[in-house]
Subunit: 296 residues, 4 copies
């Protein structure tokens, strides 16, 4: 079981009741990415392509997700890939494309860094650094990312316990950086490879909130691996109490086999718009998007 | 992968596009339990004690869950227990208590049967038969339950694939009984025993709906094993598209160590009422119950 | 964690140090099936077809496995199958075929029972009753099987904890029947469906022996789901301390697609013979069969 | 399923039948660590402390494991730890201690590197670089480690598929370094935290050998997390076809609570000696060590 002793536990810097907890028994630290608050009463939605593949593709999607109501742009310039023979990202050129997309749309950008030697470079461009699931326990990277002072999006590894995840966040926090946003992206279970690629672990959302004041997002794209399941996972994540979503999007008319990564789990801007309407308090009822209508 | 060939697959009797599909590409068969429709536009809520332990306890909870807005009463008269030295249920006496609770409250009752030799007995009392997770592939029981013609609540085993679950439903369906309601109750993952007892698999809800026209519920009590996590799991299940919930409840002032089973995962009637208000279209906003408020 | 209090735990009847432990701190109860000791110093090998499909098929395999050195014959007359549209076994006819195979070969027979109403019938024919993985927590069946007084082969469910498995054995033991042989047949992990169908859990073998004096076998056929992996799993199981093996076999010249179940995980008699030579103390060195020779 | 197309698959550089396969359909590349062959007919045994904690502790254990018959010394100078508040290793001082232990015993040393910026430093001291489970997909580290030309011990992450593991090895191989030794260290399953900390996946040993010519070891210490289970896991790993073992050891008289990491899963030199005798062809029979004697 997780240690809950404030002030001395393995993740004391981020613990509820710990020395840095100014947020009350159920409060959340609001992490600002530029002027965007993450962890406030309104769920945030981060959206964009899996990878930055070209200027045209990225800028087009950036405009589309802004039009759909997204708050921030995502997109990978450095991509961790299972095989070295797969597309590894555009690197610095990808960062420049993201910066241009930000300039055109006004959306802050979050992008992944996976090499300690690239932290300074990525920090020049990004509004928020993403630590990907594979690097959740890449401890030197956590330390260097923490030292930039930028807000950090820390994904949970697909086989990480709650203690391991919060321990990873603690590596960032002990550098004096509490601007950490956690992100559940699905766990690996026996269901892998049948109807989904991962199992969205909705239970960890309230479990995280019991132990830390950091905000937590859900990534329904990786937590399903199937664009048809993304809307229900997005709503379920918010219903479980997540402070927002990060979602992969492809352009409305792109063939899902075209993107160099994750085409099949990316949704269209029109679907994104329905999800955003649905999870926003002032928007349409969440019942409207319930996947597959009931009744005959 | 699941077989999707209508008319010839391993669960052809319940398959979308199969010979018995009168429900359209996204429609759901409405299963009537007494006069209560399951699978219609409004989510149903089944609630009650884990086990029927006494007349007083059961009747009290029955009144409380009706007052909270529940549609049906649950409670175990025959209990499958890990050890033979644990409480095994009151048997026939438990069924009679359930019948009295129904008479007093008007709520239809669902209760588990786990021995083929008890099917006729349980069918005398119950409005709906429950096949528990451990018995999901107890094939003779599926057959005998199907033959009663009563509606069947078929729980998913905690390690069942989608194909295994739908194959189990098919055993009931081939007896000419399509009044089957599926129920996801959490899967066993590496997270077991830390912050929860099971992982609620929200992704299987839309995955089920792609393949069959049967309605599907979520059991947030077993899918968490922790009363603090039940509300978020209940909302997440409905947000994922479930047609309703089945929830374990203890009386408002009962010590959680008192019940002979599952005290720690049972919620109070007052919590049940908030959940029901939340998942009902005409009720309070689902945002209201988001576990742990955001903002400082 | 497992309860280790002798005399009062959830599986007190089979616990080391419990009231029925006559076997010493590391001793094993020897269960006799006919004249065959299971749990003695020499590993036993049970082999035979997945299902009894015909007299000719079963008798041929029975002779082949005896020639290969097997001690007992396995074969299913009642088959639990995922879909009701799959072959369900020959029933009583299958039992008669098994009896004839026993008469011709002298091998005792173990066969599965899955309906409480069939226990008396199967007990007329079988030397040992098998409770399959799906029925590990079919408690009425455990009770009825225990009451026959016959030795019971109790398979572990693919998602059962150690406590659940020993709790199931306790249901048999409380009927006064300690002639229980446990059998690990692989657990369901995230690896399912890639290089194997199940993960052989070798660690549970010594873990079982710490808690109970009952003997334990390993089933490398279901624990791999791939005939190429069966030999290494068989040796690993014995190396981990199992008291023997249960293995599915097809005839030397049968096409693996021909059998009505499990053709692809069944090995040939010639492979069985090499495994048996290898695991027997007086046989060839176990190094000889190490799958895929080392060195260039 | 794994891609098996030689010359074009995601791990073509290490694939059986690929352009660099000089080893025949069942042959193994022998990786030399100093003069020690790994992958040859005799299983190698690597042993030593979890972490280098002091000169005295490390040198004592080094002598003890050499006396027990070990071929190589392991010990961590840089330790990946769940929390930043845990002991992180002695760093360069730890490397110097390892070098002294090598000088005194003649055993080559393998030690972990987890920061790309430390690769050159660690390579000055180590005979073999270890990439730990958490860093299996730390791709820049794989690349830098590969470029040293030193032999690499690549541990499997506890949730890695076979494709992910071999893809990680490919990152090393494409740097022109085929001196890669794979190491299975247990997967995370639902059994975690009950009778073991990980599940030793014996099936992946032959599965690896079908796809690549690289040698593969088993780590029974992490694959069990319990010193009582280490011997059976060690034998099971070798029986499944592993080319050797890597085992954590504490000094004969050390209290298991004393070491700064992994005390409870470390075995004594006397136990190591029995394991080595057992897995060596010319040594005692493997039957001798079968954990928990059979028979009454």
């Amino acid at each position: 079981m997780s240690c809950r002793v404030p002030g001395s536990g393995p993740y004391r810097a981020i613990a509820r009741g710990g020395p840095q907890d100014e947020y009350g028994p159920e409060g959340t630290r609001v992490v600002h990415v530029g002027s965007l608050p993450v962890g406030g009463p309104e769920p945030v939605v981060i959206a964009g392509p899996c990878a930055v593949e070209s200027r045209e593709q990225t800028v087009e999607i950036a405009h589309a997700v802004r039009a759909a109501g997204a708050d921030m742009l995502r997109g990978g310039a450095f991509k961790p890939r299972t095989s070295p023979h797969d597309f590894q990202g555009l690197g610095r050129e990808g960062l420049e494309i993201l910066a241009e997309a930000r300039e055109q749309t006004g959306l802050p950008i979050v992008t992944e860094v996976l090499d300690v030697r690239d932290v300074a470079l990525v920090a020049e461009y990004a509004d928020m650094l993403q630590i990907g699931a594979r690097n959740m326990q890449h401890f030197p990277l956590l330390t260097e990312a923490g030292r930039t002072g930028l807000p950090i999006l820390l994904k949970r590894h697909w086989a990480a316990t709650l203690d391991e995840w919060l321990g990873a966040a603690e590596y960032i926090a002990v550098e004096g950086n509490l601007d950490i946003v956690l992100c559940e992206r699905g766990i690996r279970s026996f269901t892998q490879g049948t109807y989904n690629r991962s199992t969205l672990d909705v239970n960890i959302v309230p479990a995280v909130k019991r132990l830390t004041f950091l905000p937590v997002l859900v990534d329904p794209s990786h937590a399903t691996g199937d664009d048809e399941l993304v809307p229900s996972a997005a709503l379920a994540g918010c219903a479980a109490g997540a402070h927002g979503l990060i979602i992969e999007v492809i352009a409305e008319d792109t063939d899902p086999t075209t993107p160099l990564c994750d085409g099949y789990q990316s949704i269209r801007p029109s679907v994104l718009e329905r999800i955003i309407d649905d999870v926003r308090p002032g928007g349409a009822s969440w019942h409207a998007l319930r996947p597959s209508g009931s009744g005959g």
